[in-house]
């Protein structure tokens, strides 16, 4: 399985067990730290991209000086569909209410106009008095009921829980019958919270806004999908700043590690000279160094990557989201975009491992051109 040179390299590691262990542990944590800091924003970005793709092109609300107010469904749909370029208009009933553990988002759903994200995970729709809840909503009642308080106080029977991987934004979502939702939020009959509008082409989102605004006899505010992406991206600035600060010690630790490794290897030039005098070729010495470093670095890369994966996509994501984004109530579920995640992990492994490998190989390469006699002279009297 292993050749003699590989066994010799492994024996070499065991000759300095604490030094090798320290290198492995430092490398593991450096890879985990830097990997997490790079992978987490990537995962959030990927998740947002997926989620936003499923959202409507434009969300339209009626506003007045006090804020937003409900839209009359019939007139609003008529006005929106009169604009050229609008493909579909879907009135939405939703709002914030108080749940047992804090604020929750309530949404009225019916078969017609069901959001794309919910089309697959929903096996049935809630009837009157029933609720379908997101993964993050805990039910404290063994009977499976959920008390909610909005314009009225009402308890609903939980009939289904959305799967964990549904979407990052369905964790705190409660799906109700549209009539129940209207009552709970306090919407008048025939009114909706906003309009979800889809346009023919992605690029028309911004161009169509002025026509859309002009089509309504009351003041409205439109938010396009692109604007939504910008709003969410702004929320990650805190995460980026914290990430940059956290990365400093990891990078410093790496620099120290590389400096120590280089110094240590350069100090053993005389040993290389003796090995060459004993018949080792430059290729043999480089292979020995390569094997020795790979035996330490490969497990560190594997372990560091697993740790990083666990923190971003596993249970560790709760803590990370709280730390970077301030999500301290409900845990998010991030999308794993395999190609992107693997690229980030390979980049991290390359950036962290390459200097360590180079610091070990440099003396071997230097010894390749040096006179063996001169290398041994450095050994002095032994």
């Amino acid at each position: 399985m292993f050749n003699t040179l590989q066994i010799w390299a492994f024996r070499d590691i065991l000759r300095r067990p604490f030094e090798s262990l320290l290198l492995a542990v430092t490398l593991t944590f450096a890879i985990a730290t830097v990997g997490t800091l790079l992978l987490f924003p990537r995962a959030v970005y990927d998740t947002l991209t997926v989620v936003l793709k499923a959202t409507p092109s434009i969300i339209l609300r009626q506003v007045d000086p006090t804020g937003w107010r409900p839209l009359p469904i019939r007139e609003s749909v008529q006005a929106a569909t009169s604009v050229i370029g609008v493909v579909s208009v879907r009135p939405r009933i939703w709002g914030m209410v108080n749940g047992p553990d804090g604020p929750l988002t309530v949404m009225g759903v019916q078969q017609e106009g069901l959001p794309e994200i919910l089309a697959d995970p929903l096996t049935r729709l809630p009837a009157k008095g029933q609720a379908i809840v997101g993964w993050g909503i805990a039910s404290h009642d063994p009977a499976g009921t959920l008390p909610l308080e909005g314009a009225i106080r009402q308890t609903y029977q939980v009939i289904h829980r959305l799967p964990e991987q549904t979407s990052m934004f369905t964790h705190d979502l409660v799906l109700l019958n549209p009539l129940d939702a209207q009552q709970l939020i306090g919407l008048p009959q025939g009114y909706a919270s906003d309009l979800a509008i889809d346009v023919f082409h992605e690029d028309e989102q911004d161009a169509i806004l002025s026509d859309l605004t002009a089509a309504f006899p009351w003041p409205v505010r439109c938010v396009t999908r692109r604007q939504s992406a910008g709003i969410y991206a702004g929320g990650f600035n805190r995460g980026r700043a914290l990430g940059a600060i956290t990365m400093i010690p990891a990078v410093l630790a790496m620099c120290l590690l590389v400096a120590v490794n280089t110094r240590k290897s350069m100090g053993r030039q005389s040993d290389l000279g003796i090995m060459k005098a004993m018949g080792w070729t430059t290729g043999d010495i480089i292979r020995l160094h390569l094997y020795r470093d790979l035996f330490v670095c490969l497990p560190s890369v594997a372990l560091g990557s697993c740790l990083c994966f666990f923190l971003v996509y596993g249970p560790g994501a709760d803590g990370l989201a709280g730390f970077f984004l301030g999500w301290d109530t409900l845990p998010p579920r991030l999308y794993l975009e395999t190609k992107g995640a693997v690229t980030v992990l390979l980049e991290v492994a390359g950036v962290m491992v390459a200097p360590v490998m180079a610091s070990a190989l440099l003396p071997a390469l230097k010894a390749a051109t040096a006179d063996v006699h001169e290398l041994i002279e450095g050994a002095g009297r032994r």
Partner: protein
Amino acid sequence: MNSKITCRNLSVAFSGENSRTRSVLDNINVTFPAGKMNIITGPIGAGKSTLLHTMAGLTRPTSGEVVVNDQAVSRWSGAHRDQWRRQAGIIFQHCHLLHELTVLENIMLPLIPLGHTVSHCRSQSIAALKQVALFHHAGRLANSLSGGERQKTAIARALVTQPHFIFADEPTAHMDAENSRQMMELLYHCTGRNAVVIVATHESILNRLPGPALCYRLENGALNHLTD
């Protein structure tokens, strides 16, 4: 195969203080035949070690060449000289053992890159250790050995690959008379398998040699044949 090593117009000079060059070996012409003990003597600082190191491919001559079996090995490129050193067993004056390695591992060192299995390397090394009567020290670290034991280890390391060319620099300097005789006998034994054995040593050892030898004296950069 009847090997021989020849120095043709071999000169080595080192740059000293104030950029002055100091000539150590000056136009040496000599052939060391196989199957015979070749002894080089001379005063301290005469250049015995330099001559051995140059022939063994550890350093390049300033001019002239080292020819082995009609091949000018001193002119070879670095990679080819690496291969040449595999045919040579070198015993350094200061032993140059690797301190972090055990005695057995030091002796295994020349065998590792040759592609043998670990068990083969180990059994060969143990046999070499037994030849120098150091088997009971196999597991000790090299830096815990006495001067004489280090020299014995260095001798075993040089002989473990059964090289065709053996360059020994003061191989018995730190040994008593009995151990010195045993080690010289071991080197004589190598001439029996037609190896070229070249030993640099002090003149005092000449009258205690256990067999016939070709003797040379190196002085003022010149190598003179003394006697058979």
